[in-house]
């Protein structure tokens, strides 16, 4: 069965400002219908990449397609794209509803959607208030509402949780989850993967403008290792336990007063029991025995820090 064409396909996309390389030779594909997290540290080129997808910034080199249309003809696809980039930008003297009506009119969309969208993002009761009086969270939600005008096939959201308090981040995450209904592709950036971890099933990780990882989030997670951390009553026993475990075919390493045992193929609870038995049989008293599993955030940090590319 033929694969559906990717929603976003970039081939060697590069943007230079003089000698500064903002995005370097970026080649990625984002399949249709996924929630793709676009992750990288601040200044890694996420916003510039998104601005190129939206026709706001011209690439220095490279090519690509969005929704099957070439990147250099944004007019052919932007009517199917909704975006929030570099923070919500609206007319401060207009109300939320008026702002949406202006943008809908400019985009050729039906302004009748405005009330429905304000309801969707939880701003129905504040739609007639001026934008200048909105809190940051309300501004972000209005930005999402503007991005949803015309029921776009692709949503591009640049750091939508920026500046929000934990409750706002949680709320935004839930909203993004609701917007990803399977038929729509969501491409959302953040410098904190933990904010997106629960909603993303595809990841693009960049650092210093260059691609570090792209693919299913589960693939990145699959590279992770589960470990068991053991702490002995006497630190000197850890080296002895390491030796005993090594003889039994297990990898482990003493670090910072702990013995970190890598779980390879064995079920973690069974290995923990084995470690405990081995220690007890050899007169070693363990005061802690903790299985730990690396999170996607740990993997992301390892990848960005160059440990595992």
């Amino acid at each position: 069965m033929p694969q559906p064409s990717p929603t976003i396909s970039l081939d060697g996309l590069t943007k230079r400002y003089g000698s500064h390389v903002a995005v370097e030779n970026l080649t990625i594909e984002v399949p249709a219908g996924v929630v793709a997290g676009f992750v990288g540290p601040n200044g890694s080129g996420k916003t510039t990449t998104m601005a190129m997808l939206l026709g706001l910034v011209a690439p220095t080199e490279g090519a690509g397609t969005v929704l099957g249309h070439p990147l250099d003809d944004p007019g052919s696809y932007l009517h199917r794209v909704g975006a929030l980039i570099e923070g919500p930008a609206f007319y401060p003297g207009l109300t939320g509803a008026q702002n949406l009506a202006v943008i809908a009119t400019a985009g050729g969309h039906d302004p009748a959607q405005v009330a429905e969208l304000l309801e969707l993002v939880g701003l129905a009761s504040r739609g007639d208030d001026r934008f200048s009086g909105y809190s940051l969270g309300m501004k972000q939600r209005l930005g999402i509402a503007a991005a949803l005008l015309g029921n776009p096939d692709l949503l591009i959201l640049d750091e939508p949780t920026n500046g929000l308090d934990p409750a706002g981040v949680h709320e935004m995450r839930q909203l993004i989850g609701r917007l990803a209904d399977g038929s729509r592709t969501v491409f959302v950036s953040s410098h904190v993967l933990a904010e997106l971890e629960q909603v993303c099933n595809w990841l693009v990780v960049i650092d210093h403008g260059a691609l570090v990882f792209h693919g299913p989030a589960s693939e990145l997670l699959a590279r992770s290792t589960t470990t068991i951390v053991a702490v002995a009553e006497r630190d000197a026993d850890l080296a002895r336990l390491e030796h005993l475990l090594s003889a039994a075919g297990h990898d482990s390493e003493v670090a910072g007063g702990e013995l970190v045992i890598t779980v390879n193929g064995t079920e973690p609870r069974r290995l923990a029991a084995e470690v405990n038995r081995t220690a007890g049989a050899n007169g070693i008293v363990l005061v802690e025995l903790t299985p730990t599993k690396t999170t996607l955030e740990d993997r992301y940090l390892a990848v960005v820090n160059g440990g595992d590319r």
């Binding site: 601005a51 939206l54 026709g55 706001l56 910034v57 011209a58 944004p74 007019g75 932007l78 009517h79 794209v81 975006a83 980039i85 570099e86 923070g87 930008a89 609206f90 007319y91 401060p92 003297g93 207009l94 008026q98 009506a101 202006v102 943008i103 009119t105 400019a106 985009g107 050729g108 969309h109 503007a146 005008l149």
Partner: protein
């Protein structure tokens, strides 16, 4: 372009904007009418060298347009400031970015926005002309000025001509202001350049260079508003101004089309 035009009109049709524009037009009519009609003297009693309307000239068909035309000649800088603030504000607020994500045809976006603002300016100017006529009709009897010829065909034609001249001036100031804002992208810097150039720089240069009045845009626009002057005829001012406006708008359009929009 049509969609941007309609979107811009949505912003301008707000009650606050309409009330502010109406109050501005009314204030313009009252102030200019009062100043022109109440300061007019008989032609024989005016000090030598003093220009302006006389009681006799105000009694002619063109008297109906006198207050409006005089007042309109002082609005150039105001129009320049308003258009710079409007266009530069789109950059500083990031709203050009928001609009371009919905309407990526950049020239169309600029043209639609400019057209809507000019239509609005034309409507406000028409209201100001009508209110000036009403105010002039009310004030004229206090100065024994005859208004019999004002509402004749000749009188109304003079008023229409005054309106047309003022509209051309407003369009030129507006275009130069918008172009400057798009080129510079900063409201304060564009305002500084626009006001300094059209105010002190042009007028000071005029003191030591006779050609300034014939070639500087601000001075040409002043001559246009006055219906021509001793130094500059309308037939000279209009084509030179057209070149200025075309060059400024063209440069702004090309720059806007090509430049990355990162703000």
């Amino acid at each position: 372009m049509i969609r941007t035009f309609k979107a811009e009109l949505l912003k301008l049709r707000r009650r606050r904007i309409l009330v502010a524009a109406a109050v501005g037009a009314l204030a313009f009519a009252v102030i200019t009418t009062t100043a022109v009609l109440l300061s007019a003297e008989a032609s024989g009693s005016q000090p030598p060298g003093r220009g302006g309307a006389t009681l006799e000239s105000l009694g002619e068909p063109g008297g109906a347009a006198e207050a409006f035309s005089t007042g309109a000649s002082f609005t150039g800088i105001l129009v320049l400031v308003l258009f710079i603030a409007n266009f530069a504000g789109e950059f500083s607020q990031g709203t050009f970015r928001t609009l371009l994500m919905r309407q990526p045809r950049r020239i169309g976006l600029l043209a639609g926005k400019m057209a809507a603002l000019l239509v609005f300016a034309a409507a406000v100017l028409a209201l100001a002309a009508a209110l000036s006529l009403v105010a002039s009709l009310a004030v004229a009897p206090t100065q024994d000025i005859s208004t019999a010829s004002w509402l004749t065909l000749d009188g109304l034609a003079e008023l229409a001509e005054g309106y047309g001249t003022a509209l051309v001036g407003v369009a030129a100031w507006a275009s130069l202001g918008a172009a400057l804002a798009v080129l510079v992208r900063s409201g304060p810097i564009a305002l500084g350049i626009g006001i300094a150039w059209s105010g002190p720089i042009e007028h000071l240069t005029m003191d030591f260079w006779n050609g300034a009045a014939q070639w500087f845009p601000g001075l040409l626009l002043e001559a246009l508003a006055a219906g021509g002057s001793a130094d500059v005829s309308l037939s000279h001012a209009l084509p030179v101004l057209a070149v200025y406006v075309t060059a400024a708008v063209g440069a702004a359009a090309i720059t806007f089309q090509r430049r990355d929009l990162t703000a």
